[in-house]
Amino acid sequence: MRDFKCISVRRMTKQFGEKVAVDNFSLEFGKEEFVTFLGPSGCGKSTALNCITGLIPITSGEIFIDDECIDDAHKSVPPEKREFGMVFQNYALFPHLTVGENVAFGLKLRKLGRAEVKQKVDEALRLVHLEGYGSKFPAQMSGGEQQRVAIARCIVLEPRLLLLDEPLSNLDAKLRVELRYELKTLHERLKVTTIYVTHDQTEALALSDKIVVLRLGKIQQVGTPEKIFSDPANPFVADFVGYKNAWEGRIESLEEKGGALCARVRTKGGLLEARLSYSENDTRRASIVAAFKAGLPVTTAIRPEDIVAGAGSGNNVFHCVADLVEYQGHSNSISACIKGCEESRVDLRSVSSVSFGESFEASVDPDKVLLFALPPEALGVGVP
């Protein structure tokens, strides 16, 4: 493997006719990093991945490995010369070749000796716990086993970059978790630089060093799993990582208190207090202040886990009526409406059981409430 320090994608754009699938995508990541592209289907994450491999030609932008330009939309290194490895959602194993021949495919193309090929194939199959499966055909194996073969087929070549396109999406829930653990272990052992594409936030949080959240081809936020999970940059990211309670409202008062921004927001469900720890140079802070001054609507973002059944201290108490209760083992997932305001929904978790139609009080700590100024498209401005 040719050594490198950093891969950088600069202003990469991919257009299919009028449709912009990947829009001005810039990202830099170092060797050995595990980067995840996270987003709903149609957000351009797979297209971005395919553009980086060279399988889809880019419309504009550049891709560099250190200072070697591998793609600038005019001249591009073909995919087979990039020394990248790719794992597909549908495994894409060659059905006419045995498992051993599948893993040996790339090695044989590199004209390695027979003994060396065999030794490397055996080693790769051992790494993915498939010793002795070499003479089977892919069709004789389960989905999880097939995907491990696909991984072995890539890592045996020691790629500079390993790209995984929703590799676990075709597997059942249990296998998905198992293989996820294995991917993590494998990455910790081999330290292969990896880009992983998924729509599953659990996978993204569990595996990644860095998460890139995408929407409509645009990067929404880049950050560590902790950052993305606890400090989403905008309402979209918040919604995608599970801040289900998004209530629209207007800020009635806004004041600085001990470094935090204290806001009182009038929502349909009542008055809500939020204590925002957005730092001085955080754009979210500036946009909240601007929204307050202009009297523009804002939206809340609160995790169901942060709302507790029972009255807490302070003002953030809602009187609700439960209209959907799902038992989930360790807790109940409750969907309720606020008394006197049917259209305001509260989603929360509760350990104690609440029965259908029961009235109860719920409250949320002001520290757990995030506020975002609504983006222009949510206000119907700038978007048809």
């Binding site: 087979e80 549908n90 495919f105 790339g106 590199r110 892919p138 194996m141 989905g143 890539c154």
Partner: protein, 289 residues
Amino acid sequence: MNAAKDWTNKGGALVLLVPALVFIVLLFLYPFAYGLYMSLTKADGTLSLANYARFFQDARDLRTIGVTLGIAVPVTLLAVGLAVPLSYHMRRGVPGERLISFFLIVPVTLGTVLISEGMLTFMGPNGWLNQLIMVLGLSQTPIRFTHNYAGVAISVGLQGFPYAFLMLLGYVSGINPDLEKASQMLGANKWQTFWKVLFPLMVPGIAISFCLNFVMAFSVFPSAVLLGQPSGPQRVIAYAAYQWAFEKFNFNAAAAISMIMAAIELFVIAIVLAWRSKMYKGASIVGKG
């Protein structure tokens, strides 16, 4: 519901097979068996191998095997050989695909006789094709395309190629496109990807379309009669059978020739299928993904 279940369990399902069985027996098994019986008897009804012996001793008849193979094998190889790269090229669809398919299917629907008649005038010594060739200065004298080997071969090829192409197109466009991407990502260029991944996966389709094409070409009759010299160099085996049956009214000899035709066709098919199973082992193994 129980009644229905019992009905299917107690062999009632076999009743549903009856129409198909009657069809096969009446229209295939009986004529075939009758033909076999005729080929093994003399005109007076006594059992004998004389009809076969006569064929193999008659140099003029024996020659028809070589003549027919000489048309069928190269034409089939060429048709399938052209269909492979063309279907590969069109596997993801190309602009004007419907139009291309239309022009490929037309010769099949028109039938051999109409095509041959058309070729006779179009490609004949005074036909448009030769006039064009002479205008362009490609040749001073008309080129013979009819009443010779070329005429028969072109006509048979025109009939066979669409089948080969359409069948292979179905095969190759059914191959998971991610396999090509995977191969490329593992370091294979387009050429290597074709030979190491796509071609082996196309082998079953190639084998089947070769077999179908070969059988059609080997039983060539109207093309040979209309566009060849059926009494001379293009005396194909089907024509020999026809002459024995309807010129010499010896149906037993004709039946023997038909049986020999079938044997040769089966032999070639066996060779092709052996090649197929040698090339492609994985296909026979099915399992859940």
